[in-house]
């Protein structure tokens, strides 16, 4: 994209209503739906790849369904799933760790105060 590319307006004039009483939830809901949209874009792209391949004589959908995973493939996929879940539950696991270490906001505040004086 060139530097002088015309940029269209992205926001509609008019105060956006807030639907939820919980601060931030309106924004979070929008993010979730955008992620669902992007997930759908990927699904359509995979579908497109399969259809284009089939038109060129490669039945990717059938071959993918018939694919038998060998041990390295099974290992790689399991590792990827576990990594995904760790990323997904990063904050929950952080909370678990803090509970295990009896960490707290009070300790954090104390450290700030002590550091300033020491």
């Amino acid at each position: 994209m060139s530097a002088d590319q015309l940029k269209a307006q992205r926001h509609a004039r008019g105060k956006r209503p807030q639907f939820y009483a919980t601060p931030g939830l309106d924004q979070a809901m929008s993010m979730i739906v955008v992620l669902a949209q992007e997930l759908h874009v990927l699904a359509d792209r995979v579908d497109a790849i399969e259809r284009v391949s089939k038109a060129r004589g490669i039945d990717l959908a059938a071959e993918v369904d018939a694919l038998v995973l060998d041990q390295p493939a099974l290992d790689a996929r399991e590792q990827r799933r576990q990594q995904l879940l760790e990323r997904l539950y990063y904050l929950v696991r952080k909370e678990g760790q803090e509970l295990a270490e009896a960490d707290s906001q009070a300790r954090y505040d104390r450290v700030i105060s002590e550091t300033a004086q020491a």
């Binding site: 509609a12 209503p17 809901m29 739906v33 949209q37 359509d44």
Partner: protein, 419 residues
């Protein structure tokens, strides 16, 4: 019914990449889901939860759309419904802006080239000020509204509207998004046989979706589309040229045009009135009376007045006022439109409401992509569902007639709207 309706391409329509198209289809599907999958739960949420709570708190039941709204805004089901409806609207425009922005300035250049090819007139008024009711808020949350320009001669908001309005209507208005115009044309053919207008005016035409069918029905007539937005008028002119239909377009305010008295035999509008204002609408109806020739008809196609529906349906529809930047949507539906026409000079017995059956079945008959017989029939025959863009069955039209002078009364005039 699966809705796989597809918009018909033409030279001005922005082309979507694979991923842009997938995002656009998602936003269209999301609107369908909100209406078919979430909207039906509003009634039980109201009856079982919000209504009893409201009555407990206030000592009386929720009696009209305003009280129903007060009861519902704190209900979690309603919040999810309304939030998702708003988000779907935001995703819709954003997904189309991606395509439009990527194809600028080529689309602007193409509009100029197409307009230069056609024989029809294009009038843009350099000193024109669009009225506040289209500039104060971006109507239906379309970023930029109808009138803003990124550069002189810009049509980007019009390209956004052409594609976005199709997605907003979920394809119910046909591959060229012209169902309202075609439905009114069908109504004229059936109900006003022998009526042959020499000059036709479409007020608030935007990109001319519904304007073109009139030229196709009356090829010998001089057809004009006017709108307050320069970009939409420019784009409409170029789009008509791309589709090979000779329609004139002008930037003008329907409240006060510069056409002479009695200039048009047929004046129409499609979903214009609810995007004007309490002061503008009576002026537009008066201007119609001034512009209409003896023997002529005015037909305004908009959404049904509130008094034709129950308070809960009114409440659902009125969400557009509060959540979709449609400030006049609710107030317009409360107006006595028959009285407005009478005040403008039409005889009361010459004014009435009628229903113009939806022309969507024709799209299926023409074999348009996604428009199967079954899906088109399902749209045309279904009951009115609050919250949908297309009312189902037909469009509500307000018809006013100006009888011909007695000596010149023809056959069409005898079939006047007294029936």
């Amino acid at each position: 019914m699966l809705n796989t309706f597809q918009q018909a391409p033409h030279a001005m329509l922005p082309v979507a990449s694979h991923d842009e198209a997938a995002r656009q289809e998602f936003s269209k599907s999301l609107k369908h889901f909100v209406q078919q999958g979430l909207l039906p739960g509003l009634q039980p949420a109201f009856q079982r939860r919000a209504a009893p709570a409201y009555e407990r708190d206030t000592g009386h039941p929720a009696r009209d759309r305003r009280e129903i709204r007060a009861a519902m805004v704190t209900d979690p089901y309603f919040q999810h419904y309304a939030a998702l409806n708003r988000i779907s609207q935001e995703l819709l425009w954003n997904s189309v802006i991606d395509s439009v922005e990527r194809q600028l300035p080529v689309l602007n250049e193409r509009a100029q080239a197409l307009s230069a090819e056609g024989s029809a007139t294009l009038r843009i008024d350099a000193g024109f000020e669009p009225p506040r009711y289209v500039t104060a808020l971006d109507i239906h949350c379309m970023p930029g509204g109808y009138a803003s320009e990124l550069v002189p001669g810009d049509i980007s908001v019009a390209a956004l509207y052409d594609r976005g309005a199709y997605l907003y209507g979920m394809g119910f208005a046909g591959p060229l998004n012209d169902d309202m115009g075609r439905s009114v044309c069908n109504y004229i053919q059936r109900q006003l046989p022998g009526f042959k207008p020499r000059r036709i005016l479409d007020m608030g035409c935007t990109v001319g979706h519904s304007t073109l069918p009139y030229k196709q029905l009356f090829p010998d007539a001089e057809v004009w589309g006017i709108d307050v937005g320069a970009p939409v008028v420019r784009y409409g002119h170029a789009r008509a040229a791309a589709l090979g239909v000779a329609v004139n377009f002008a930037q003008m305010n329907a409240e006060q045009t510069d056409f002479p008295d009695g200039h048009f035999d047929l004046i129409v509008s499609h979903i214009l009135m609810h995007e004007t204002s309490g002061r503008a609408m009576p002026r537009i109806v008066k201007e119609c009376h001034r512009l209409l020739a003896a023997g002529g008809y005015v037909i305004h196609a908009d959404l049904p007045p509130f008094d034709l529906m129950d308070p809960f349906t009114q409440f659902i529809l009125d969400n557009e006022t509060w959540y979709n930047n449609e400030p006049f949507w609710g107030a317009m539906r409360d107006l006595d439109q028959i009285q407005l026409a009478v005040d403008a000079g039409f005889a009361r017995e010459q004014v009435r409401f009628a229903t113009a059956p939806m022309a969507i079945l024709e799209s299926a008959a023409q074999g348009a992509a996604g428009y199967t017989d079954a899906s088109a029939s399902a749209v045309a025959e279904r009951e009115f569902t609050a919250g949908e863009f297309a009312p189902g069955g037909g469009w509500e039209v307000l018809i006013a007639h100006k009888p011909a002078a007695p000596a010149q009364a023809g056959q069409a005039d005898e079939k006047a709207v007294t029936a």
